[in-house]
């Protein structure tokens, strides 16, 4: 079986109008992929920038996959939330990006979006907070049913991911 190591960090996020952000991340793969070591999902700490406006998490990611096929190449997906001083959480954006397929170190910038909802919901969100959220998390990384959504842009999640591939040449895959 070919093996893929995804090692890196979710460095942080920029461009969000809210401060005090945290991120829930996960990785989705196809059926041919098996996770050998590492955790498939996690949540970063809440970060309040004192200097500058980028929120830094430096959240480590270390995953070891074994795969029998290229279909379902891993995708990282994110939900960025903001937390206010009362401890309430509000959605700031959803985003996903594919894990790169060439070995080496990559800097990724993943744009995010959030669902808008009706004008009443937008008004309520401006005053009271809250706002619509996705019921099913897989809409974040799949294209099906997206046409029903009306969304607005959020900020960008920054990642540095390094990829190590093993045994792909045995199966005739050039990396």
């Amino acid at each position: 079986m070919a093996e893929v190591h995804v090692i890196g960090q979710i460095m942080g996020a920029s461009g969000f109008s809210e401060s005090s952000l945290f991120c829930k991340w996960g990785i989705h793969t196809g059926a041919a992929w098996k996770l050998l070591s590492g955790v498939r999902e996690g949540q970063t700490q809440v970060d309040t920038p004192q200097i500058g406006e980028m929120a830094y998490w430096s959240h480590p990611i270390d995953l070891h996959f074994a795969t029998k096929g290229l279909q379902g190449w891993p995708r990282l997906h994110f939900q960025v939330w903001s937390q206010d001083s009362f401890g309430r959480c509000q959605l700031a954006g959803y985003g996903f990006c594919h894990v790169p397929s060439s070995p080496g170190t990559h800097q990724l910038a993943c744009p995010t979006w959030r669902p808008l909802g009706s004008w009443q919901e937008q008004l309520a969100r401006a005053f009271v907070g809250g706002g619509p959220q996705l019921l099913h998390g897989d809409t974040i990384y799949s294209g099906a049913d997206r046409y029903r959504l009306h969304t607005a842009a959020g900020g960008t999640v920054h990642l540095e991911i390094s990829l190590l591939l093993r045994h792909f040449d045995r199966y005739g895959v050039e990396c």
Partner: protein, 180 residues
């Protein structure tokens, strides 16, 4: 080299914690340590260290320079658990107690060659205002009993941090990978 037994490879890391930028604090020292997975073991060099205390330079740069050497070699059979370097920066507060000014972690670079890394530093923050005041007054900030926690992904939910140092201690690391 298509053998069935796991091959051992060595990872040699040479470098230094060069300097830091902390606009609000002065007289800082840093500690480094490495966090790695179960398949890794250090074979040479020191995996922990404490630097000297440095003060900001008098010129316009206001630089905090340590130039603190890092020299370690790891042995492993598996890239999982690739070593991370964890840095903790400490300094005196207004009452003279040593308090933590920031924690940060970064993976050792993956490819051979010269690399420069800038690491943002975080400080855990108390969630209640009363605790913030008490900890400022008593000089006992929220601190990690084991700084290696910073290098792990699990258990971070619910922690609130603020970054005080858009700080970069910059390890200039040369990495060489030797396969045996």
């Amino acid at each position: 080299m298509t053998t069935a037994s796991p091959s051992v490879f060595l990872l040699m890391v040479n470098g230094q914690v060069e300097s830091a930028q902390f606009p609000e604090y002065d007289d800082l020292y840093c500690k480094y340590c490495f966090v790695y997975g179960q398949d890794w073991a250090p074979t040479a060099g020191l995996e922990e260290g404490i630097s000297q205390i440095t003060s900001k330079s008098q010129d316009v740069r206001q630089a905090l320079v340590w130039n603190f050497p890092i020299d370690v070699t790891f042995k492993s059979t598996n890239p999982y658990g690739w070593p991370q370097i964890v840095l903790s920066v400490y300094g005196p507060d207004v009452f003279g107690n040593d308090v933590v000014r920031g924690y940060g972690a970064v993976h050792v670079p993956f490819s051979p060659g010269r690399h420069k890394r800038t690491i943002p530093m975080f400080v855990p923050e108390s969630t209640s205002k009363l605790q913030k005041f008490t900890s400022w007054f008593m000089g006992r900030r929220p601190e990690y009993t084991d700084p290696k926690v910073v290098a792990q992904g699990e258990g971070r939910e619910g922690a609130v941090f603020s970054i005080h140092g858009l700080t970069p201690p910059r390890p200039l690391a040369s990495v060489r990978i030797k396969e045996t």
